[in-house]
């Protein structure tokens, strides 16, 4: 009979610390899981008034109202899968909270809309850098059939070297041109016209006046 004997450095205190730490770690992991889950929800994201502007267009999109009842939440698209990456994304996301608290008045519709293009560019970069990983949580390239005759063929034959976001942008939130063709003056004029602001106001808002 083999007797199992703990090494000498495993004292009672060490054993207690290990068990407590282990249990604590498990509890912390569950906490993170729940925390990531909670902070990925639409309800949490729209706690800030500034995010309700993004929500308006989203609620009109097929990602919110799909015939099959599948609904992608904010986090489904904007937070990576896996505890580590989700936690990382949320940690990085704290900068948004800091900007919300100490940055421009994003709750103001004009300020929000004027800053939207940069936010959109950053989000597209984020998707591109991850090879549209969050899209692929639900969408499998090989399985895409589409409703039109050749959608499947296009996704089989025309997608080499491309990632979802390269073609499929401006599908959920308010339309923003690509970074290369974006024209700040035209965007500002649109915001001024839409919100009934005097000409030149947009530039002043952006300059922080």
């Amino acid at each position: 009979m083999i007797r199992f004997r703990a090494p000498l450095f495993i004292t009672r205190h060490v054993l207690f610390a290990l068990v407590a730490g282990g249990l604590g770690g498990i509890v912390f992991m569950f906490f993170l899981l729940e925390f990531d889950h909670f902070t990925s929800s639409n309800e949490f994201c729209t706690t800030c008034h500034s995010m309700t502007y993004a929500e308006q267009a989203y609620q009109q999109s097929v990602h919110y109202n799909s015939p099959s009842g599948v609904r992608a939440t904010c986090g489904d698209c904007h937070v990576s899968e896996g505890l580590i990456m989700a936690t990382y994304d949320h940690t990085v996301g704290i900068k948004d909270l800091i900007k919300q608290l100490f940055g421009p008045e994003y709750d103001d519709p004009a300020v929000n809309l004027l800053h939207l293009p940069e936010a959109a560019f950053a989000a597209r970069d984020w998707f591109r850098k991850r090879d549209s990983a969050t899209c692929k949580r639900c969408h499998t390239l090989e399985a895409i059939q589409g409703t039109r005759a050749n959608t499947a063929a296009i996704h089989q034959e025309e997608t080499e070297g491309k990632t979802c976001i390269d073609c499929h942008y401006n599908i959920v939130h308010r339309k923003v041109p690509s970074r290369e063709t974006f024209k700040r003056e035209a965007w500002n004029a649109m915001v001024e016209q839409e919100l009934g602001l005097p000409s030149g106001t947009a530039a002043k808002i952006l300059a922080g006046d």
Partner: protein, 530 residues
Amino acid sequence: MTLAVRPFVIGPCRRLRPWCVLFLGLAAIPALAAKVELAPENWGHPAGADCVSCHAKASPGLAQQWQDSAHEKAGVNCMDCHQAASEDVDAIEHEGQIIATIVSPKDCGRCHETEYRDQAGSVHAEAYAIIAERVPALAHNVTGPAMQAAGCDQCHGSEVKVRGDGTLDPKTWPNSGIGRINPDGSRGSCSSCHGRHQFSKAQAREPDACVRCHSGPDSPDKEIFEASKHGMIYAARRDEMNLGSDAWVAGEDYTAAPTCVTCHMGAAGKIPSTHDVGMRNAWSLNTPVSERQYLVVLEDGGKLELADNGKPPKRGSEIEKADGTSGRVKVVAPPERRRKIMTMVCLECHAKTFTEGFMDQFDDVVELYNAKFGEPAQAIMMDLYERGLLTPLPFDEPLEFTYWELWHDEGARARHGASMASPNHAWWEGMYLVGRNFYSRFLPEARAVAGAEASAIVDARLQQGRHHAWLADTEKANPILGYLPAPVPQPATAAEDAGDSAASKEAGAGSDGDTAGGGAAAATGAGGDD
């Protein structure tokens, strides 16, 4: 294919008058359809294959049209026309390429320089600019702005707006109106006549290429052409039209019948083809009063129509353009010269006397319209406005609709009908309705508006000239409506009176019987009178 330049000298050009320069300048252009002068290494964009590969699946109809086009055969692909620079106002990113949805005449002009130059400044290219200021009075007030997008702008063109988010404003796009103001500033839309994406020469030479706009009550040119002998023969001999030929010179490549393009744009004998569709038009026909017009070509390439007042603008002088800017006069073509060019097209198939006789008949109709209806109606209206009897706001008074239709609808139909030899449109659809409108609606309504001043404003105008003198002869009967007064017993002393009496008796007897009998009797009666 030969690219023969046709030297062309005409008699009256011994002294180099400005219009001769224009005419010779035009004649120096090859009579063949203008060739693309750009070297082929400028097209065949490397990304084009990717566009085709995907669009053959995503929009196979569109891709197939291009596959069937001369562009495809020449190696011109999607990107050659749709490429854009990031800084272009309507540039968008699409599958990794910077493109523009709208291919403007300026874009087409990269290769098709001659056509671009011709159409710039033409009445087609200016079709939106010409009416832009007037449109709201009808489209917005009488109906609503939605009608501008769905109606006016579809033919005249829209002023395409690019929104701040890079999308084209759906109030102004889709649109292929011929005077479209494009985001790049150029005017016009080649696809108005040249259906995309096949851009078939044969299709653009069909009368149907013009029908989308040149039909309906105010410019029934489709209906007029079809009702003319030109249209009749075209329908019967369409398979002899050689529409797909390269140069399509009337008298050489085809002789069966003319289409709209033949007379207004096409090459014919020594006359070169042009994409300035109004160049051969001596008259303005869609105005309250027709005017013979100068065609003024400016040094910046712009063009201008000016009423012939006997004093053509001098070469080198500054002149104000339609949009308020000014340009320097390069060449002036007087209406006689424009008529001459049109006439030379006719001469490919008609004799000179025939052609000139036809033009005389046409001119007579326009002059009749002007003198009898257009000018008095316009003068009466202006008088009513100036005296404050009509408000300056258009279309808030019934008389304004009456006047509008008088010149814009039946008035234009009559003049167009005469210009293209449809008797039905010249008369029943045209001048008959002008006359009916003028006498039974316009004058009574104008008198009612003028009230106590009617005799000064309305009647005084009618008494100028002899056109309306017939109204005073109220006792002069005619059997056209079936009534002739019973013969009045006359003393049989004067021979003249006896003749009258006999005529009346005959006609009166006829009117008791059938209508044909009445007509025959009337003819006899009229003969007796004269």
